[in-house]
């Protein structure tokens, strides 16, 4: 269980700008939470706090122990994927696993995961020569190769065109189902949230969820049902409302 208790994150000199204010919620282990919301509401700040990049007040625990990058395995896929241009695709894939000294049996895992993600032919190339979709899959491989207990994705499909985004999220779900790490995806695309997440939250300014709901449509491709449309509508309205607050 991922548990946040009274989390506050402040920016500026002396903590003058409070982006997240006493946020508390829980997420069951092995589920995907999609966090949507207007720009600047603190979605990325939340991800950075969870990733241990930003200091915060309050407590975050994962399965009862304090969340800390040094002790927990946290996979992060930032908005622009954070690939190292001077390392090959293979070296990039193994980068975080090596930081965690988690390299036993890595070659076999790398081979099978890269094959599954369709990047097995790119291992000796450099990130500068990859398309957006390919770079995204390399970032996915890097995150999954470290066997994350918590996976954080910040707008993972935002830089991709529609076709590439559809393919990428399908691929993500397929790989995710093999290890099922607790996952938080920040996205502004409602259809991505509905396809990928077990739960969907809408964040309003000040860092509170104005909406948190179960999503029965996870993994369902373009459902036509009225209930799907209604949930989609509800989320969109909440995002618009959150922007007005």
């Amino acid at each position: 269980m991922l548990e946040l208790k009274d989390i506050s994150v402040t920016y500026g000199k002396g903590g003058t700008h409070r982006v997240i204010d006493q946020m508390s919620w829980q997420l069951e282990t092995g589920t995907v939470l999609a966090v949507a919301g207007p720009s600047g509401c603190g979605k990325s700040t939340l991800v950075h706090a969870l990733a241990g990049i930003l200091p915060y007040a309050g407590s975050i625990t994962l399965d009862g122990t304090g969340l800390n990058p040094k002790t927990c395995s946290i996979g992060l896929i930032p908005q622009n994927y954070g690939l190292l241009p001077w390392k090959t695709v293979k070296e990039n894939c193994l980068f975080t696993a090596k930081i965690r000294d988690n390299t036993s049996n890595m070659e076999a895992q790398l081979t099978s995961l890269c094959k599954e993600l369709g990047i097995d032919g790119l291992l000796e190339r450099y990130p500068g020569t990859l398309s957006g979709g390919q770079a995204q899959r390399v970032a996915l491989a890097r995150a999954f190769l470290m066997n994350p207990e918590l996976l954080l994705m910040d707008e993972p499909f935002a830089a991709l065109d529609i076709a590439a985004a559809l393919a990428a999220r399908e691929l993500f779900l397929r790989v995710w189902k093999e290890k099922k790490p607790t996952t938080i995806i920040v996205t502004h695309r409602v259809e991505d949230a509905l396809y990928l997440a077990h739960k969907i939250a809408v964040m309003k300014r000040g860092g509170h969820f104005s909406f948190l709901n179960e999503n029965p449509w996870q993994g369902v491709k373009s459902p036509k049902e009225a209930a799907y449309r209604s949930l989609e509508q509800q989320i969109t309205e909440n995002i618009i409302k959150a922007d007005e607050i």
Partner: protein, 245 residues
Amino acid sequence: MRKKLWVFIKGFLLVNLFWFLLAAFLSTPVLPGPLTVYGKYSHMINGRLWLHIGASLGRVAAGLSIALLIGIPVGIFMASSAIANRILHPLVYFSYPVPKTALLPVCMLLLGLGNGSKILIIVLTTVFQIIVAVRDAAEHIDQGIYYVAKSAGAHKKSILKDITLPAVLPELFTSIRIGTGTSLAILLIVEAYGTRWGMGYYILDAWSRINYIQMYGGIVIMSVVGAALFWILDGIQWVMCKGMR
């Protein structure tokens, strides 16, 4: 590399053509033509010439090495600490444009007429551009890369070794190239006193003896040495900065 060699050959031929035409047009002993100069090379190239080249290269290598040892950590420190940048930036900003050769009397008074003052002038001339290049390059590293490493639990030492240093290498090589060119240029000033060795001394000595053929021969040799240093730097960069070419 082959392309660069071709550029060098073309440049060398064009400069020699221009030199040939100008010498033919002016027809003065002050400007002998390239064929006259090259015709005397068999007399010029001997053990003593190599000692002159070695003395100059030694001073440039020592000066640049000290500048790198100071410039890299200071540049990274300025990029990583806002307080350090606030304190050091005005110092660098003020000192960068000061013509360092104007400090030659001070260096001579402090370190005497030997190699110390000559190397110090090379250090002062090159260190600020190295600091600025490293700081700017470090400031522009994709933050996503740091986020990925930090969320995986990377230590500061590993972040420095695996991210910051490789990321600043291309700009560092540019500043070394500029520094090399500047150092070779100021050899004519620093080797004008307190030594009988060095390409600067070689050229100035020939000039004072009205031996124009040796003077131009020295200038050509110094240019070829400079080009060779650029090649070597290009080669090292080619090996060290794969993926960022």
